[in-house]
Symmetry: C2
Subunit: 197 residues, 2 copies
DNA sequence: AAGTACATGTAACAGGTTACATGATTCA
DNA sequence: TGAATCATGTAACCTGTTACATGTACTT
């Protein structure tokens, strides 16, 4: 239940049409909650029906034509409720960690190159976030709003930094293995791997 | 497309029934790829039909009765292919970061308590991972399989550590704000927040 | 008049979540 | 025999993804 709230946030920052939102979900907000244009149009319809947003007047309901939305009081109310509510953090669900675990049973063939590729991708993403911080949050300006948005950006920076460190450790470990082919069942470690308490 | 591979990995580590798998997805593998029992049974059916796994002989197709599966050669082949393949890292999609960003426009009411709650949850999770490392990976044992599994665990430890640090920063920032009520549009920062290059 | 970019949608499907249903086994 | 537990499954729904469809505005 986060996409509607992501859209409400984006529209509060600036009333927009579906396509403008789509563009902003390719950067900005999209760095922390991505969405395709199909999702956005579907959700705009629902939000309008729920009375959270409305189409700005002056636009007939024509198909190929721009239609901009703004948030209604009920919408910002719902958003504020959501911000202050309680939501457990979601469990980790990462394919790369899973692949390393699978490599322990079927071998690391091809894994090293993939780890190097990910390292490079995360380096670029980190550089991007750091450039944004320098550009959008120069020292001196620090309204509460700015501080909160910089805090979010620091989340992104921290996550990318984590991945860089982990990938460096992974490259060292996997690089030192002689391409361990199909996992030898008799040599396997604890049956349940990183198991339970 | 990761759930089938998570199941193949779990079954290669130890042939199991659906319920046993469900239990192991509540810990162990589940720390990095969670799944409910409904997902698991659905996927077991598909994997069997695809010829990747088979039910261990000796079990009639009775409803309420235990049915254990093992991985066939085609299954470990598919898993090895998947490990060595190419998959881009997924973009960040985190509700808590999104909520902080929303707080910049609708106010931080209720946020502080939620941040504290998350801090406590992540502390516990980190302690759990550290206990597992101590228990399952004592110094001395270091087969390639063990090193890979410990590497995965270090991923979990690194992620939890990141969250702890970020939440501490967040508590300091948000704690210093006088509960900033509804966002004042005129005082808002850059229209697109942490924007684009 | 044709092509391209802009803009809004529909349809079909896969993966994940929640609620419920059914049968077998054990034990009081 | 009735309740609790183990075990497997069905159904409905929501979110996210991919492919495609339709219409407008601008340029050449």
């Amino acid at each position: 239940m986060s996409l509607p709230h992501a859209i409400l946030t984006a529209l509060l920052e600036k009333p927009s049409s579906g396509l403008e939102l789509t563009r902003r979900f390719d950067r900005s907000i999209g760095y922390f909650w991505s969405a395709t244009h199909q999702q956005i149009y579907r959700e705009l319809g629902r939000l309008e029906e729920a009375g959270y947003i409305r189409a700005l007047p002056g636009d007939g309901p024509v198909r190929g034509q721009r239609k901009a939305y703004e948030v209604l009081p009920a919408g910002s109310g719902e958003l504020a409720r959501w911000v202050g509510g309680s939501q457990d953090p979601k469990a980790i669900r990462d394919p790369l960690l899973l692949r390393v675990r699978a490599a322990a049973v079927v071998g690391t063939d091809g894994l090293l190159a993939e780890l190097r590729r990910h390292l490079e991708l995360h380096r670029r993403q980190l550089a991007l976030y750091e450039a944004i911080e320098e550009r959008d949050f120069p020292p001196g300006r620090d309204s509460d709003e700015d501080r909160l948005r910089r805090l979010v950006l620091h989340g992104g920076i921290g996550l990318e930094t984590f991945w860089l460190r982990w990938l460096e450790e992974a490259l060292e470990e996997v690089g030192g293995m002689a391409d361990l082919p199909g996992g030898d069942p008799d040599a396997a470690g604890p049956a349940d791997g990183a198991g339970a308490p």
